[in-house]
């Protein structure tokens, strides 16, 4: 475990020295596409459709970034990464950007030397069990066997939680979500724990979701967001502001359907004008075209539209907006002003 961390850190450190002068933005522009790391497959967040295109909540954010840079949401390639391989892949430069349910933590930011650029989903870690176990609270889980994805924050939270509550557990380490699902359904573990969004997504895939419950306790903060290597400031700014633009678009009621008419019609709201490139030279400041935000919004709509389409209450996953509602609507989604 320690060896692995050291290795990742060493890799990250080397990449830092490489990355610092090999600016990713130039590389990306030169090769004409973005290499985006996503998960190996998590319902609602990243999957392939029948035509072989990647789609999902995280994937759309990658695509929106590509649309902002190149005006084309398909100027992108995806690399599926597991909990363990994602950081090495980013550090080594195999991917330019990671959008993979990744929690923003101090050590990942400082020690592994990545820049987190915001949060596209506020999550927390939960527990899923079979209903017939008759457990109604996480504090009754003493002695349980727990399926846990290696290389994740959830692995560490789990240990903390059980230690703090003086309970014992037996971990069943697994590599991917698909594997966890199998193990859990085959009764190889009593409990599956990961981000609550992931639990909901996983439970939605069961034949009998009604026989499984997600316990009420949320034991951690899991702000999930995009990240790039340290030192990639110009590139990171773009990723950050694409995410912010999609959130501001929701605030302002700009959707995939009306973005074109908003950009051409004479809107009163100066912030919309700035966002859609009608006024000011914000695109130029980022090194992008003036209509970068228009292209990003056209990809999959604003934040709210992306959410509803892939993981919202009308999908099989059925997540409520909760913390991820706009700050004006009782959530904590709050993008800095666009000026």
């Amino acid at each position: 475990m320690r060896l692995k961390t050291t290795l990742i850190a060493a890799a990250a450190a080397t990449a830092f020295s490489v990355g610092a002068h090999g600016a990713t933005l130039d590389d990306v522009k030169a090769k004409g596409f973005i290499q985006c790391g996503v998960s190996t497959g998590l319902a609602g967040f990243a999957f392939t459709d029948s035509d072989g295109n990647w789609d999902g909540f995280d994937v759309v954010f990658c695509r929106a970034t590509a649309a902002a840079v190149f005006g084309d949401p398909n100027a992108i390639k995806f690399t599926p990464t597991t909990g363990k391989t994602r950081f090495t892949a980013l550090a080594s430069g195999e991917i330019d950007l990671l959008y993979r349910n990744t929690t923003w933590t101090l050590s990942r930011d400082v020690d592994l030397k990545f820049s987190f650029l915001g949060v596209n989903y506020y999550d927390g870690q939960g527990f899923m069990i079979r209903k017939d176990m008759g457990v109604s609270s996480a504090s009754e889980l003493d002695g349980a066997t727990v399926c846990i994805q290696t290389g994740t924050t959830t692995e560490l939270n789990l240990a903390d939680f059980f230690r703090a509550n003086n309970m014992n557990y037996e971990p069943v380490p697994i590599e991917t979500n698909a594997e966890a699902q199998q193990k859990y359904l085959a009764n190889a573990c009593d409990v599956y724990t990961t981000d609550a969004s992931g639990l909901a997504a996983t439970r939605a895939t069961f034949e009998d979701p009604e026989n499984h419950v997600i316990l009420p306790e949320i034991i951690s903060k899991e702000p999930l967001g995009p990240l790039v290597r340290h030192g990639d400031n110009a590139w990171g700014d773009i990723v950050r502001w694409v995410l912010n633009a999609l959130i501001i678009a929701e605030e302002k009621g700009i959707t995939a359907a009306n973005v074109d008419s908003m950009a051409s019609a004479d809107t009163k709201d100066p912030e919309i004008k700035r966002l859609l490139g009608v006024e000011g030279n914000y695109g130029e400041m980022l090194g992008l075209s003036a209509d970068w935000a228009v292209n990003a919004i056209k990809t999959g709509g604003n934040y709210g539209e992306i959410f509803e389409k892939h993981i919202g209450e009308n999908t099989a996953i059925g997540l409520a907006r909760g913390l991820n509602a706009l700050w004006t609507e009782g959530g904590i989604l709050y993008a800095p002003p666009f000026r």
């Binding site: 319902a43 990243a46 999957f47 029948s50 391989t85 939605a204 099989a316 996953i317």
Partner: protein, 438 residues
């Protein structure tokens, strides 16, 4: 009178043989001999039959009777019937076969696959026309060009590099030896010159060569990037190139390991032991991540190519040991006989030693092939979408959420067909070469 009436007690014709008693002949007899030849065997037979019937009773209705072929989602399947939801395979079949290969270009990998059989035909069956071997030698170039597209001259240029290396190793030693160089040293020098020549060609001349020929005669196919390759296409590319590459390299390494030249021997032993001491997954990680640190930034070194190189290196090391086993199994007399005929090293190897050594090693060689083919599924860890890698994003699609057995079963079937074919072929080969009666 006496002459007319023949003796009655001698039969005039042979009595036709009567069928054996029912209990020993026919199906019943066979069953008695093979299935119920004792109390213990009878019980075992009945238990096994019950087990097989139990499994079939579960699988057959699920797979054949209640299965659903046409639906657009798992929910759709379950509404129709409760058997296997084969609709997912129906919908994603082409994705499993080609990955994300552009639809209108899919004839190219298909053609490459068909030609693969033409190319391996002379290698597999001695009845094939020998001239086809030329085609086999050129096949890798052709397949690469068909699958990846681009200008034909790129791969041709790469092959010219190999040809330069080969020519040095082939023709330099006698020339050098004439110049009073010791034979071993001459050979070493030739190998060095070959590697150097090929490297120089690749580094400095290939691009110019490609551009020059492209202006003269532009033959090119629409390029397809590696990221679009996936599924069985990817496993087959990695598996077949690994297999095709590891056998010759393995032979060279095995011979090198027996060499009297300390340098060659050292290099071979070092390579074999190093590769065997490291798990394949580590090598794949090196190919994926560490190489980017060593290559100058901005170099495009195709990921699949890197993986193929690593897989081939890995399989070659194992192959070398398998063949070394075969070489060691040959009686010394064979080597001495070859020497006494006055054959030089290469001739004695090619005509006398290797044919026999390879013959003994067939089971081990095929074993390595099958292992290598199955190991291709490891590439999922480094983000390549082989069939198993495709399975996860497909299962994460909301329409197909929760499907397990159908997809894994389908992939298992594919691997089974490939591996079973290989093992059958090796049995055929053993029978044909009559290994038992050496």
């Amino acid at each position: 009178m006496a002459g007319e009436k023949s003796v009655a007690f001698v039969a005039e014709q042979q009595i036709p043989p009567s069928p054996p008693p029912v209990r020993t002949g026919g199906a019943l007899g066979w069953a008695r001999d093979n299935l119920f030849s004792g109390v213990f065997n009878s019980v075992a037979t009945l238990l096994s039959l019950a087990f097989v019937a139990y499994i079939l009773a579960m699988v057959v209705p699920w797979l054949f009777i209640d299965s659903v072929w046409n639906a657009s989602s798992l929910q759709g399947c379950r509404e129709v019937d409760d058997g296997a939801c084969l609709a997912v395979i129906n919908e994603r079949f082409l994705q499993f076969v080609f990955g994300f290969y552009p639809e209108e270009l899919r004839w190219r990998p298909i053609l490459a696959f068909v030609l693969l059989f033409v190319a391996i035909w002379p290698a597999l069956f001695s009845s094939a026309p020998r001239k086809l071997l030329i085609f086999s030698a050129l096949y890798p170039l052709l397949a690469y060009w068909l699958i990846w597209g681009g200008s034909l001259w790129g791969p041709v240029g790469a092959v010219v590099g190999i040809a330069i290396g080969w020519a040095c190793i082939r023709f330099l030693p006698p020339l050098l030896a004439r110049g009073r160089l010791d034979e071993g040293l001459a050979f070493l020098a030739a190998v060095g010159a070959g590697i150097l020549g090929a490297a120089l060609w690749w580094l400095f001349c290939v691009i110019a060569f490609e551009e020059a020929l492209s202006t003269v005669l532009a033959i090119s196919l629409e390029p397809v990037e590696s990221a679009r390759l996936g599924g069985f296409l990817l496993s087959t590319i990695i598996g077949v190139s690994g297999i095709a590459g590891s056998l010759p390299i393995g032979i060279v390494l095995a011979l090198g390991r027996q060499s009297n030249l300390i340098l060659i021997k050292g290099v071979c032993v070092g390579f074999i032991e190093f590769i065997r001491g490291v798990p394949l997954i580590t090598l794949l990680f090196v190919a994926w991540l560490l190489l980017s640190y060593f290559l100058p930034p901005g170099t495009e070194f195709d990921l699949i190519l890197r993986v193929v190189i690593m897989v081939t290196a890995f399989a070659s090391a194992y192959m070398a040991e398998v063949i070394r086993g075969g070489l060691a199994g040959l009686p010394r007399g064979q080597y001495e006989a070859a020497d006494s005929l006055g054959l030089d090293y290469w001739k004695s190897m090619r005509l006398i030693v290797l044919p026999q050594a390879l013959k003994i090693s067939i089971p081990g060689i095929v074993n390595t092939f099958i292992g290598l083919f199955k190991d291709t599924t490891l590439v999922i860890i480094i983000g390549l979408l082989d069939p198993v890698g495709l399975l996860q994003p497909i299962r994460a699609d909301q329409n197909w959420n929760g499907i397990v057995w159908e997809l894994y079963g389908f992939i298992a079937l594919f691997f089974f067909i490939f591996c079973f074919a290989m093992s059958r072929y090796s049995m055929y080969l053993e029978r044909n070469l009559d290994v038992g009666h050496r």
